[in-house]
């Protein structure tokens, strides 16, 4: 009897001797730990993803383009109920980039690779800035707190301050000596190849946006804005261009024909009128780089919310942005709307217009004029570089004619704020939609600045006659799973998207 009891006891104890038998809970088919050089490459696609998905709707708000069927909710400055549409920025900020950037920051700190840490913080600062400019109030302080299921929204002011904090932290990291990193970062950094000087310029560009967006406030300091611009992108060579392979639908430009996301959009009248001489007084040669004429050779556009009246009319049928009348007839697209075209996420041209605006507000018209003309030239250069067909590029003579025309202010005395903002609008056509929308909200869509701009004839019913000022947070993130916090800031109201932003108010 005793013997058997001993055996049983040994048996029961024996199992605990197999501790390493159970130690098999790390995934053999996919990594659960990763280092900075492998997590950095997809960050760029995620940066572009958030902006490009949502730019379709920004493009409607600012009347870069309009939908071919009538009464599109975005054309009417509304929103799609119970839908994630318009909130891809939210996804990229918190998920696509979000937690991954923190993984890089942690890894960089542990392995003493400040360049990676600086890049991650720079992207995070940019993401905070551009996400709050799109959505307004957002989750800043409680972000990524483990074990938390409901997250409080912070006012935009907090997001603006956090963007500055993160930008400064990025600058500090990027200034550090980093002997280990260069070996890997050249390949991992798809945009700047690990060039710390360029990243530093990118961070200053974020700071310039941050400082310039509060132009309506007493705290606005144009000298600070100019100082930030001067430390930022110094030429088109510094542009932040997110690359696209264009070989399949996963690695192609969101606006290219392979992804087919712009097939139902056509140029809006407001944008076309800026190009064809109607508004500016002289035709813009960039029209041929951005738009495509109908079969009869005429460039046509549509009014927001009205749909395309030419759909059944063969000679007047408006081609897609890719050149052909249908996706199938468009090849790989053209110019900025090519499958393999990079996405210009931050450009030298934009920064020169920021400088022009700040200098103008400060009263330094001479500086403003130089920056203004730099911006226009940078736009021509950028569009020409994106056009793969050399015969279609704008020639130096065409550009000179345009620069000397009445579409462009010739002297400091003639320069107006409207000149600057309209040229900035044109320069950022098709890529800087989110930033252009910030500008238009700062000026309350004023036709004094945006000559001949009118909101759509029939605004979305929930707007109650007000223009759009922000985009609601992501439905399947916040409206479904964090609704109590949303209610606290009034985001459950049907007209939440018309509540003015903190940045645009005095």
């Amino acid at each position: 009897m005793k013997r058997y009891l001993l055996i049983v006891a040994a048996l029961l104890l024996g199992t605990s001797g197999c501790k390493d038998y159970l130690d098999v809970n790390t995934n053999p088919s996919t990594p659960q730990v990763a280092s900075s050089p492998v997590v950095l490459p997809p960050m760029f696609a995620q940066m572009a993803r958030g902006e490009l998905f949502d730019s379709r709707y920004a493009g409607s708000f600012i009347q870069n383009w309009a939908f071919t069927t009538a009464s599109n909710v975005w054309d009417r400055q509304g929103y799609a109920a119970s839908s994630d549409a318009g909130a891809e920025k939210w996804r990229s900020h918190y998920f696509g980039n979000g937690a991954n950037l923190f993984l890089i920051m942690d890894d960089a700190a542990k392995t003493n690779r400040p360049t990676y840490g600086g890049i991650a913080k720079a992207i995070w600062a940019w993401s905070l800035q551009s996400t709050t400019d799109w959505h307004g109030d957002m989750i800043v302080k409680q972000v990524f707190e483990f074990g938390r299921y409901s997250f409080d929204f912070d006012p935009q002011e907090v997001a603006y301050a956090e963007a500055v904090t993160q930008a400064n932290a990025a600058l500090a990291d990027l200034a550090k000596e980093d002997p280990i990193t260069p070996g890997t970062v050249t390949r991992a950094d798809l945009v700047y190849g690990g060039d710390r000087a360029k990243w530093t310029k990118f961070v200053y560009a974020v700071l310039a946006r941050n400082a310039n967006h509060i132009s309506n406030k007493a705290s606005y300091k144009p000298d600070d804005v100019i100082a930030f611009v001067d430390k930022s992108l110094a030429s088109n060579a510094d542009n932040f261009l997110v690359p696209h392979n264009g070989s399949n639908s996963d690695d192609s430009n969101f606006f290219g024909p392979l992804r087919n996301n712009l097939g139902s959009y056509r140029p809006a009248l407001f944008a076309m009128n800026l190009m064809n001489g109607t508004t500016m007084g002289a035709p813009d040669p960039r029209q041929t780089l951005l738009f495509n004429p109908s079969a009869d050779g005429v460039y046509r556009a549509i009014a927001p919310g009205q749909g395309d009246p030419n759909a059944a009319n063969t000679p007047a049928f408006i081609p897609t942005f890719w050149g052909g009348n249908t996706v199938a007839l468009s090849g790989i697209g053209r110019g900025m709307f090519r499958d393999n075209a990079p996405y210009p996420l931050m450009t030298y041209g934009e920064l020169q217009f920021i400088k022009a605006e700040a200098a103008f507000r400060k009263g330094d018209r001479a500086t403003a004029l130089v920056a203004y003309r730099n911006g226009i030239n940078a736009s021509f250069d950028l569009l020409n570089s994106l056009e793969t067909d050399a015969t279609k590029r704008v020639t130096a003579a065409q550009r000179a004619t345009y620069l000397a025309s009445k579409a462009v202010a010739q002297t400091a005395a003639d320069l107006t704020l409207s000149n600057i903002m309209l040229q900035k609008y044109i320069a950022m056509y098709g890529h800087g939609m989110l930033e252009t929308w910030v500008d238009m909200r700062r000026f309350q869509y004023s036709p004094d600045i945006y000559t001949s701009f009118t909101p759509p004839a029939s605004l979305f019913p929930d707007n109650s006659g007000k223009t759009v000022q922000r985009v609601r947070p992501r439905f399947n993130s916040e409206y479904m799973w964090n609704s109590a916090s949303l209610a606290k800031i009034g985001a459950d109201k049907p007209d939440y998207h018309t509540v003015p932003m903190w940045f645009s108010q005095p």
């Binding site: 049983v8 029961l12 024996g14 038998y21 098999v24 809970n25 960050m43 998920f95 979000g98 993130s477």
Partner: protein, 1026 residues
């Protein structure tokens, strides 16, 4: 890892051998058990040595053999017969005749760990189904044979196609999003009942467009001797965490240990089946828009067909008569020390959808042998080969494509003269969905499985009161699958042909060591079982996908453009260990008490939390053993029982204590977090339950009532709810959420007529249960299974305080008084776009009614399956409605005013504006295809009465077989399956699954979308015994 597994195995082996050290002498007793009524042998009669753990059953010829000492008592028992106790004397042969007993009280059932127990001792309900009952239904998937036969079981076949998966849940839902199916145990060890989940494919589809056999169906129904259903954690605390949702314990047929000649059985069956239930659709209005003819289109909003236009019945032209042939051969033999049984089963089925088939070959060898008088070895080995050619389901599948195919066009002409696909509209890619004939003949959808189940048991009885048993088993299978969309298929227009191949390899190794001791203290008998087990589950899937075919008709990955080729690898390894014990005590066959305890260790939990203990206690009280109740005329037997049990549960999948990174396919590649966040502080889930019940036999046992009430609560569930993205993820694994289930099960057995030549047995089982969501993960107000969101805005949604089987969907927007709000612009109702509860799939009750008649040599048995209540989403009807094919659109020319009030700002005032806007849908299709509200397509309180199985059998009498020494028995039979269905459901068949059996939570039963109804089948065949 591999090493540590080997070390553990070695450890058990050494231990087992050390126990074998002692030997004591006892005698070999054998004999034959016969019935006093007709002197026929009683196969399956149970023989146990009282006061020991030793027991056996008589073979097919009534022969048994067992070890016993002189002076020990052998107890013989068999259903329907009185107990017989015989004291072992000097005789080696003890033949026993048993007398019929109307009190069927001494039944022995297989319970957890294969322990045979007297039913009267059990503190919980178990239900047993005999193998011959299952085999007699002639169903390929034995789970379908259980439908209607088991109280508390809910069984849903995915479709009526060959090789369709079937899901089973016992006593409702307990896991919010995880697996709710019971554990499958064959001959004492768990086997895998997985249904392939398409998440492992490169295409990562959500299980909507294809089905995969649930692997439990590999078991040949003809090999099953008995099947015991342990319904709750009470019954299965000893099986551990996988049995938290119950267990299905299968005991397979073994060889006879009789001396003399062996036995050969052969039976066959030939079945014809046809699908006869289809959604109804209109044949009055032709294609077009807003009342105007247009073509080609799948919208039927055009003018009426001219009277002379020929219309084709594409639906009936498509489906064919299914045919199945089945052959089973069994060979048994042995001597007084060893025996074996070899069985070979073949099933070949052609489905009602052209090209579909299912083939299964199963070879099973079971042997056992007495190595010494005290050591017995038994082993089973089963090789199974299946192949399955399938048809797609869901969106764009054959059924929906047939329904919307132009009725003026003969779909059978699916190719042009040059062999290319005949397109209805050569100019439009989007409108031209696949011709279903093209789909089944040119697109490929096939898988093949090779499986080996092996199992070795060593039983050692060193002392009369002690038994040691060691079991080691392996369940290994590999499946290769091929899914191809032809370059001309509309589903591959963009990809110019796509192919996906996968190889799935599953390996389940497990072992148990059980030590059982028994001791009597006067009137109190006790036993103690101690055991330990290990479990090692490996699961690998390698999938590869390519696009852009070179040769259009070549089926192979090498025929695709290299830059389109993608691979995905899934490797899972889960390991568990356990120690457990069970103590039982009984007092004079009147009071029984069982206490169990188990500690599990699982690799899927964080190390700090991976060990967890859970207990159970159960008892039974046989009232009729009380002195003043003994021998009652009316009440021949009465028993009360109660049990309480807890079960801990580990994480449902491995590798979630940390977040996983996913290879990125964007420019530059790299790794980034996957959508679901990990959690390093997970703790085990806990399910606690209690059950009370009674078992009463009246009128000398001619009427029996068994009732059970249960309550089960699953708390702290590990699930991955969607949360705010501010977590850094889209979903996250957390411990949270509670579901409580309760229910009532009744089992009535009656024997109204019992005469020599005529016998009538009735069995009724009744189930009513419901599962209620007490709280949702993270305190959310909705949790939904995204895979179930397959058509329009209806999905499987859980809401706090509401049933775990609810439909979430879009309803009408109403004012505070409940009036439907109407859009003033067009007179259409306004939809509430948030998801609210719009139905509950849980039936009010289900019932199974089995009648068995025996008249002379004829037997007839029939099972009626009855369901009352429960809602079904008729998504087929919504599809037809939106496309102008529903018969509900026939009144399209009748102007109507939708009843409601205008949403004009006054809707909540004292005097809302009553809608007066007249709509004539025939000129405005959007009335049908955009203004519908999903809640209108939930069909409420669906009842059915189904003739599941009916079998008529004639056994040739001995006189007819003559004095034939070779032929011992022969019979012929006819079996009908699913012969009729009476239901208030307007669709084809309410018993279908919108996804497949791999879906967790409460699944997609009750989602009727694009699935072929279960066909009716007619089988006949012969059975011969040599």
């Amino acid at each position: 890892m591999e090493q540590s597994l080997r070390r553990c195995l070695l450890f058990w082996l050494c231990l087992s051998l050390s126990i074998s050290a002692a030997l004591a002498q006892s005698r070999d007793i054998r004999g034959k058990v016969t019935s006093s009524e007709d002197n026929k042998p009683i196969p399956g009669a149970s023989v146990i040595v009282l006061g020991t753990a030793r027991g056996t059953t008589a073979d097919a010829d009534g022969n048994y053999r067992i070890q016993a000492n002189v002076g020990q008592t052998l107890r013989f028992s068999f259903i329907g017969n009185k107990l017989r106790d015989v004291v072992v004397g000097n005789a080696e042969v003890i033949d026993v005749t048993m007398q019929a007993d109307d009190n069927q009280l001494n039944e022995v059932v297989v319970t957890a760990l294969g322990v045979k127990q007297e039913k009267r001792a059990l503190g919980y309900s178990v239900q047993e189904v005999k193998g011959n009952v299952i085999a007699e239904t002639q169903r390929d998937n034995f789970l379908n044979a259980l439908n209607g036969r088991v109280a508390g079981a809910s069984i849903t076949p995915t479709s009526g196609n060959p090789g369709a998966s079937t899901s089973i849940t016992l006593r409702g839902i307990s896991s919010i999003g995880g697996n709710n199916q019971p554990l499958f145990v064959v001959d004492g060890l768990p086997i895998d009942n997985r249904t392939f989940n398409q998440g492992a494919l490169v295409s990562d589809s959500p299980n909507r467009n294809n089905d995969y056999q649930n692997r439990g169906a590999d078991i040949n129904p003809n090999d099953i001797e008995t099947l015991t259903i342990l319904k709750g954690p009470e019954a299965s605390a000893l099986y551990g965490l996988d049995a938290a949702s119950g267990a299905i314990v299968i005991t397979t047929k073994k060889g006879s240990g009789a001396a003399g000649r062996g036995r050969i059985t052969y039976d066959n069956a030939f079945r014809f089946e046809d699908v006869y239930r289809f959604p109804a659709y209109q044949k009055t209005y032709g294609p077009g828009d807003n009342g105007t003819f247009s073509t080609p289109t799948r919208l039927y909003f055009g003018p009426k067909y001219a009277s002379d236009v020929p219309l084709y019945d594409n639906l009936n032209n498509f489906f064919q008569t299914g045919y199945t042939s089945r052959h089973n051969l069994g060979l048994e033999g042995g001597n007084d020390r060893s025996s074996y049984r070899l069985s070979v089963g073949y099933t070949g089925q052609q489905g009602v959808v052209p090209t579909t088939d299912y083939k299964r070959l199963s070879v099973r060898l079971a042997g056992n042998s007495k190595i010494t008088n005290k050591l017995e070895a038994s082993t089973t080995f089963n090789y199974i080969n299946t192949s399955n050619t399938k048809a797609g389901k869901g969106a764009g599948s054959t059924l929906l494509a047939l329904l919307s195919w132009p009725q003026t066009d003969d779909a059978r002409n699916y190719t042009n003269n040059d062999g290319t696909r005949r397109r209805l509209n050569p100019n439009s890619d989007t409108q031209d969905i696949d011709n279903p004939f093209f789909d089944v003949y040119k697109n490929k959808n096939k898988d093949q499985t090779n499986r080996v189940l092996g199992n070795v048991t060593l039983t050692y009885d060193p002392l009369s009161w002690l038994k040691v048993q060691g079991l080691v088993g392996a369940d290994i299978y590999s499946t290769t699958g091929n899914l191809l969309f032809h370059p001309q298929s509309n589903r591959a227009i963009a990809t110019r042909g796509s192919i996906e191949n996968y190889t799935e390899i599953s390996q389940l190794l497990n072992g148990q060591l059980l030590v059982t001791g028994k001791k009597d203290f006067g009137k109190i008998s006790t036993s103690l079982l101690l055991g330990t087990s290990f479990d090692d589950r490996r699961y690998n899937v390698d999938a590869v996908r390519g696009e852009q075919f070179y040769e259009v008709d070549f089926n192979g990955i090498n025929n695709t453009l290299p830059t389109t080729q993608r691979a995905k690898n899934t490797l899972n390894l889960i390991r568990r260990q356990a120690v457990f014990g069970q103590f039982t005590a009984s007092y004079e066959s009147m009071l029984y008490l069982t206490v169990t305890g188990r500690n599990d260790w699982s690799s899927t939990l964080p190390e700090a939390n991976n060990s967890f203990f859970y207990p159970s206690v159960s008892g039974s009280f046989v009232l009729t053993e009380l002195p003043n109740l003994q021998g009652g005329k009316l009440i021949s037997f009465a028993k009360l029982r109660a049990s309480y049990a807890e079960v801990g549960k580990d994480a449902p999948v491995p590798y979630i204590t940390q977040s996983n990174l996913l290879g990125q396919v964007t420019t530059g590649g790299g790794l980034a977090y996957n959508v679901t966040g990990g959690n390093g502080i997970l703790v085990p889930e806990r399910t606690s339950s209690y059950e009370i019940g009674a078992d009463v036999r009246l009128f000398n046992g001619r009427l029996g009532i068994d009732a059970a009430y249960f309550n089960r609560k699953a708390e702290n569930q590990i699930s991955a709810p969607r949360l705010s993205y501010a977590t850094g993820f889209i979903l996250q694994y957390i411990n949270s959420g509670t579901i409580e289930s309760r229910g009532l099960e009744l089992l009535l057995t009656g024997n109204p007529i019992r005469k020599a030549n005529f016998n009538w047995d009735v069995t009724v089982n009744f189930t009513r249960n419901n599962s209620v969501v007490q709280s949702l993960p993270a305190g959310q107000s909705e949790f939904y299974l995204s895979d179930t969101w397959m058509y329009a805005n209806v999905r499987n949604s859980l809401f706090p305080g509401r049933p775990a089987t609810a439909f979430g969907g879009n309803d009408y927007l109403r004012n505070t008084r409940g009036d439907i709000l109407i859009n003033p612009a067009n007179g259409y109702p306004v939809k509430n776009t948030s998801f609210t509860e719009i139905g509950d799939r849980n039936p009010m009750f289900t019932m199974g009614l089995t009648n068995s008649f025996r008249y002379k040599n004829f037997t007839l048995s029939a099972l009626l399956d009855i369901r009352r209540g429960g809602d079904v989403f008729n998504a087929n009807e919504l599809f037809l409605y939106a496309n102008g094919l529903s018969t509900k659109t026939l009144d399209r020319e009748t102007p109507r005013i939708v009843k409601g009030v205008l949403r004009d700002g006054l809707e909540n005032s004292e005097k809302p504006t009553v809608n007066t806007i007249q709509v004539t849908p025939s000129t405005r299709n959007d009335f049908y295809n955009t203004a519908y509200v999903e809640s209108d397509f939930i069909e409420h309180d669906i009842n059915w009465l189904r003739l599941r199985d009916v079998t008529l059998r004639y056994s040739f009498p001995k006189s007819l077989l003559g004095d034939n020494k070779i032929l011992r028995g022969a019979s012929v039979f006819f079996t009908g399956t699913d012969l009729f269905l009476l239901t208030n459901y307007t669709g084809a068949d309410p018993s279908i699954n919108g996804l497949n059996a791999s879906t967790g939570g409460s699944g997609a039963a009750g989602f009727d979308y694009g699935t072929v109804a279960v066909p009716r089948g007619y089988s006949f065949g012969v059975q011969i015994q040599l």
